[in-house]
Symmetry: C2
Subunit: 244 residues, 2 copies
DNA sequence: ACACGTGGTACTGTATACAAGAGAGTATCC
DNA sequence: GGATACTCTCTTGTATACAGTACCACGTGT
């Protein structure tokens, strides 16, 4: 979707790797780890590792304890709710602003989205990762239509922040089907310039996915905790200064 | 206003110092500098300096050129406009949500603000820095009333980002007077629960200050550039690899 | 006079060495 | 036995050393 930004320096590479470990729940909320551990795991030295860690800290994923290791921040569902609210606000505002767009421009925005979402069921994807990516692109495209670069930037940051729970929604085929249905309905209504109606549809659409994602996240966390092996505990999750 | 966060480590201290140099227009858009220069100026080593620089980069104030020094990013008025739009959206949304607040809570929010803004002219401050700070606190308080922590966080980030131009607005006594008048009018209307009216007032209030700030910024930049001394050029703003 | 190739310098990116303190574990005392 | 003080290790924070290359300047050839 947006700037791919392949990492050219080690710090970015480490950042990407850690983030993916967070998203795959290989690093679980509450897990503790040290800079040296990460450095050995990634093959980099502490310098780029620290750059990556501090970036993740500023983005809210991890915490540093003064001279006492790092820690994966627990998922804060209140904060996630606030992020989802902000997301709704941005997307609704962007959609409402579409009424200023001439028909031509609106069509140009909708056409590529319709190619993905308004297809009969044989042509639909069942791949969770792919649908998750398309879903993000769909909603980002709505905000991009606002023409406000800061709406886009903030919305993208929110997308990054909630992805960890949002993507779980597409692990269920029924939810993928619902997403197809709702997205094509939204595109339909946009084609008829029913912007206020779309704003309402969006709120519902996002709210349902928020609730589903929360349920699945709680399940996922329970399972992930069950799968602890003693090795893994010793390797990573034990309090840092506990020795062997 | 929000968390004071006195810097305990060098990186934060350097960050604060650099940011204040940016805000005071001691570091001007287009200025180039190196990590070692900053290290010598602040007394820290390159490590914390780099931490601070990368933070400022992520926040959009400066750019790094690969193996070729750092550079103060030019002020982008289109981006500032987008930030102001976002600010209006957040503050209007927060104000509109106040209608859900019971009278008691609303009063508790308004009272401290009225103490600052609804005072007769003899008690008003004429200090630009102080009024600028109170102004930020006023608008942040409105958003805080929304109860959405992400609204607050994003709004605070925007406040940090636009402060560099916004504060100039209060260097004119006439604008300070206008701010007092408009803030007290807004508080009045809020006391009467005229939330939609306040939303309109806010949009106008912010829009006027945006335009004023832009005018003053352009002036300030012109003056700052005039005051270049050859020494200063050699010291800081010449292309990095130019030797003596 | 101008284009092109080459060398040197200065800059960031990365690795490593050093400093200081937080915390677990142990020994000691009552 | 329990509480307290202390030591020792491990951690992050900071400083510095090293590596690689982008850019400028100069020189050379045409």
């Amino acid at each position: 979707m947006q700037s791919i930004a392949r990492p050219q320096n080690l710090a970015d590479a480490v950042y990407e790797q850690l983030k993916s470990e967070l998203f795959e729940f290989q690093l679980l909320p509450g897990d503790r780890f040290t800079e040296i551990e990460v450095a050995e795991r990634t093959g980099a030295s502490r310098t780029p590792v620290r750059q990556a860690l501090y970036r993740l800290q500023r983005e809210g994923f991890i915490d540093v304890n003064f001279r006492n290791g790092w820690e994966v921040r627990p998922l804060d569902f209140d904060q996630l709710d606030a992020l989802y609210e902000m997301r709704v606000l941005l997307e609704q505002t962007s959609v409402r602003r579409m009424k200023k767009l001439p028909a031509e421009e609106l069509k140009a925005i909708l056409r590529p989205l319709e190619k993905v979402w308004c297809v009969n069921s044989s042509k639909r994807s069942h791949d969770a990762g792919l649908v998750a990516q398309w879903d993000e692109e769909f909603h980002c495209a709505l905000v991009a239509a606002s023409g406000n670069s800061e709406f886009v930037r903030v919305h993208r940051e929110i997308t990054e922040r909630i992805r960890i729970v949002r993507r779980l929604d597409f692990t269920q085929q029924a939810r993928i089907a619902a997403t197809y249905a709702e997205h094509s309905a939204i595109l339909d209504a946009l084609g008829h310039r029913a912007f206020s109606a779309v704003a309402d549809q969006l709120a519902t659409h996002i709210e349902v996915s928020r609730v589903e994602a929360r349920k699945l996240t709680l399940l996922k966390l329970q399972n992930a905790r069950k799968n602890f092996s003693p090795n893994k505990i010793n390797h990573r999750t034990v309090p840092v200064s506990a020795g062997v």
